[in-house]
Symmetry: C2
Subunit: 170 residues, 2 copies
């Protein structure tokens, strides 16, 4: 549903065709969501079938025809509903990389530390890359803020874990 919220929110600001939409998301929001091209086209057509969007074909010169999407009143309603729902909902998150932590004691401590240092290094680079991104307009900046808060917090946690392993009695 979050993906539909995203598409609706962007189309609400101005009508677009699928290609532009996907391009915009790739360029500006790839850090916060990953919406593949076929998925985007599929969801758009689904929302047309559900009466949330209209699609008019438009052609410029000899370029390929475009299907330009706009919100219907039902689409606007859906957007309002999905937005409120998403904001008010706390979603339990499960970290896929975490299961391995449960078997940390199966490795020699030296090696465990070394592997975690590799993870830390990659995480650090990801954070640095994120901080290089120019600021987003308006509320989009909150996505950035949340992401960077999370990365900093993860880094902090990893450092604490590594330190703890190092200081443990052998």
């Amino acid at each position: 549903m979050e993906r539909k919220l995203l598409l609706l929110g962007l189309l609400r600001q101005r009508g677009m065709h699928g290609y532009r939409l996907h391009e915009f998301i790739e360029r500006n929001l790839s850090l916060y969501t990953d919406l593949k091209k076929p998925t985007a086209y599929y969801l758009l057509e689904q929302m047309v079938r559900d009466g949330w969007l209209t699609a008019e074909v438009e052609q410029e010169g000899q370029r390929p025809p475009r299907r330009v999407y706009h919100l219907t009143p039902a689409g606007e309603e859906a957007f309002q509903r999905l937005l409120r729902e998403a904001l008010a909902t706390d979603r339990p998150m499960t970290f896929p990389g975490d299961i391995a932590l449960g078997f940390l004691d199966e490795l020699p401590k030296e090696e465990a530390i070394q592997l975690l240092e590799m993870r830390k290094q990659a995480l650090k680079e990801r954070l640095e890359n994120l901080l290089r991104v120019p600021p987003h307009p308006g509320s989009l900046q909150w996505l950035f803020e949340h992401q960077s808060h999370h990365l900093r917090s993860e880094l902090e946690w990893l450092e604490k874990l590594i330190l703890h392993l190092k200081e443990e009695n052998p």
Copy 2:
């Protein structure tokens, strides 16, 4: 792959049949992973086909027969490989609930704050529930530590966001 790592890691400690395995995961690890029953059975059979596990049928009295799984040398190798890989890998995470933050400014500020307060309340309860869990043995405790670190960090962030919205000039 994380699911297979989990199954391998548990079976390595002692052989088990699918039902017990799933039961154990449900009881002790449901906060950190969700592995449905049919998925467990499916993955186990897949690993038998791949030569990672052996399965011997065992029957106690008139109870239903059990397929008891044990690691083969190839299974042990796979476990070692998957464990190292998972520990060293930093996985970019995307928060599904976040997209809505990008449209925060589409709502009256009062309502936005109110919705986020609801999210905060749910998050708080989730944290409190987690803290009520008795400690896990050995490395499993790290799963708990990471989860609770993350929840505290999320709560902190949400509080900062709400505060910022409240203090913004109208």
